[in-house]
Subunit: 301 residues, 2 copies
C-alpha cells in the first residue's frame, strides 16, 4: 500500500532545523508539505528556501493533512498553542520530534483524549529523530540531515499500529534508521548519552576558567590567557556540546530531570573512582580503568 | 647569525610521533638529523621513511650534534638510559618534548649538573611541542605536525639565553608558535586543558556503561545496546580524549599529580554547581550557567 505521506499532505509545524530539514527532504521526495509557522517573515523566507510546498501562519493550513509532524521545541510541545491543537485534523496521525519522550507522551495523550483516535486507538506517535547541527531557525534546515541517523519511536500499548507504521514510512523515506523502545528507556538513554555530556562539558569550561584564573607567571602573564593559548583540538572536542545552545540544554534538563539526576549520580561515582586512583597513586589501577574506557568507546562510534 | 640547527647536526632521540614528525620536517628544511632509536627494526624502518639523515641504535650517533631533542615518553625522560645521558655531547643544547615540565626540569637539572653548561648557565631547555594525533610508533611521524601549534618552553633563571634561542629557532623553522612560561604555570595549565579532559571523558564512558546496564525494555532489549544505538557525534566528541591511549593518560596523571588533583577539585565544584541547579529546579540559574559556558568556549578554538 502507498505510504500515508505519499497519499495525503504532510503537515509540518515549525520550520527550524528539524522541521526545515524534514520539509526539504519530503518536498524532494514528492510529498505535498503544508507548514505552519509563527511569524510572517519566517513564512516568507521558508517559501524562498522551498522548505514546504505551502507555508502559512494560519493553522487552517493543516486541513486535509493525513500526518502532522510537530517540529517544535520541548517547551512548546509541552505547552502547545490551543489554536494548534484545535486545528489538528480529526483522525490524522500526529507525531513529534522532542528529545524527551515521557512528558510529551503524557501531555499529548491527555490533549488528544477527546480527538477521534480511530479503531486502533491513539493516533499520536511519540518520536525523536536524533539528528542535529549547531544551527537553529529558518536558515538551519538542510537536505539529508536524517540520512543514517536513528529515528526513535516510543509507542505505548494503546498506540495505533497503522499510525506507527505511517511515521516509520516517513522516517525511512528520508533515510533515517527506525528504532522502537519504551519512553522511559529512551529518556534514560538520552540522559546518559546526550544530556549528561552537556553538563560534563559545561562544567569543564567553568573549571578551566576558575582554575586558569589562579595560574600566574610566565611571558603570558594571565593564567587564563595561558590555558587559552595551550588548548588543543582535544579540549575543543570535549567541550563542544557543553558549549552549545543554553536554552536547549536547560529545556532538556528540565524535561528529563529524574533521568538526568540518575545519570549524574553514575557520572559522579565514575569520576570519584578515577580521582581516588590519582589521589592514592594507584597507577596500575588507573591504567586498567583508562583501558576500560578506551575499550568502551568504539561501540559508540 | 645562522641558527644552530643549520650550523650543526641535530640529534633526535626517539622516532615516535613527535620525534619522527620533527625529523621529517627538519630533513625537509635541510638539517642534518642524527637519530638514536632503541631497536634495529625501528632504525631500518625509520631509514626507509626518511625520518632522519642518519639513524642508529648506538648513542655515539649523537657525537658532534649541537642540539639534541629528547623525543621520549615521560617515563623515559624521568628515568633515562645512563648510556644516553653519557652520550650527550658536552656543551650541546638539550631539549625535551615532555607534556609535564616541572619534574622533567628538576630531573635533568640534576643529571646535567656535571656537564659543561658554558658561561650562560645550563644548556638544558625544557619544552613541550603541543601537537599530536592518536598514532604512535615509527609509522606515526608525519610532515607539518607542528605547523601553527604552540611550542612551549619553560626556562628558569639559570637557563642559557643562547640555548633558549637555539630551540626557538628550531621550533619556528618548522612552523610552531613559540611561547614561554614558568614550568609550574605550564603544568597547571595542561592539567586543566589536557589532563583533566582525559579523566572527564573516561568517567563519562564508564558512567554510560554503568547506567546503560540498568535500562530495560523496548525492541532493543538490552539498555546497553540502546545507549550505543542512540549515541551521536556529540557523545563521540566528548569522549574522544577520554577513550585515548591509557598508558599516556596514566603517565600524565602520575607525572602531573598535584596539578591534576587541583584541576579535579575545580571540576568537581563546577559540576556540583550545575547538578544543584538541576536538583533544585533552578532553571533560570541553569540557563545562565550554560550561557557562561557557551561564552567561554570560543576562546579555546
Amino acid at each position: 500500500m502507498t505510504p500515508l505521506w505519499q497519499r495525503e499532505p504532510v503537515g509540518v509545524v515549525g520550520l527550524g532545523l528539524i522541521g526545515g530539514s524534514l520539509g526539504l527532504d519530503l518536498v524532494a521526495a514528492g510529498a505535498r508539505v503544508r507548514a505552519l509557522v509563527h511569524r510572517p517573515t519566517t513564512a516568507a523566507r521558508a517559501r524562498e528556501r522551498g522548505l514546504a510546498t505551502e507555508v502559512s501562519t494560519d493553522p487552517a493550513v493543516l486541513d486535509g493533512c493525513g500526518l502532522v509532524v510537530l517540529a517544535l521545541p520541548l517547551d512548546r510541545l509541552l505547552d502547545p498553542d490551543p489554536a494548534l491543537v484545535a486545528a489538528l485534523p480529526d483522525g490524522a496521525v500526529i507525531t513529534d520530534v522532542g528529545s524527551v519522550k515521557g512528558p510529551v507522551l503524557r501531555r499529548w495523550r491527555e490533549l488528544l483524549a477527546g480527538a477521534g483516535g480511530g479503531p486502533g486507538g491513539c493516533r499520536f506517535v511519540a518520536s525523536h529523530p536524533m539528528a542535529g547541527t549547531a544551527r537553529a531557525g529558518v536558515e538551519a534546515g538542510e537536505p539529508g540531515l536524517f540520512r543514517g541517523r536513528p529515528w526513535v519511536a516510543t509507542p505505548e500499548a494503546g498506540t495505533d499500529p497503522a499510525a506507527l507504521q505511517a511515521v516509520r514510512e516517513l522516517a525511512e523515506a528520508i533515510g533515517a534508521r527506525w528504532l522502537c523502545c519504551g519512553a522511559e528507556a529512551h529518556d534514560r538513554a538520552v540522559a546518559l548519552i546526550s544530556h549528561l555530556p552537556v553538563l560534563v562539558g559545561a562544567a569543564l569550561l567553568q573549571a578551566v576558567e576558575a582554575g586558569g584564573g589562579e595560574i600566574g607567571g610566565g611571558e603570558i602573564d594571565a593564567g587564563a590567557d595561558l590555558v587559552r593559548a595551550l588548548a588543543s583540538s582535544g579540549f575543543a572536542d570535549t567541550t563542544r556540546v557543553g558549549g552549545g545552545n543554553p536554552e536547549l540544554g536547560m529545556l532538556m534538563a528540565r524535561t528529563n530531570r529524574p533521568a538526568l539526576l540518575e545519570a549524574l549520580d553514575h557520572y559522579r561515582q565514575s569520576l570519584a573512582g578515577l580521582e581516588a586512583m590519582v589521589a592514592g597513586e594507584e597507577w596500575s589501577a588507573l591504567r586498567q580503568s583508562l583501558e576500560r574506557s578506551q575499550a568502551l568507546r568504539p561501540d559508540f562510534l
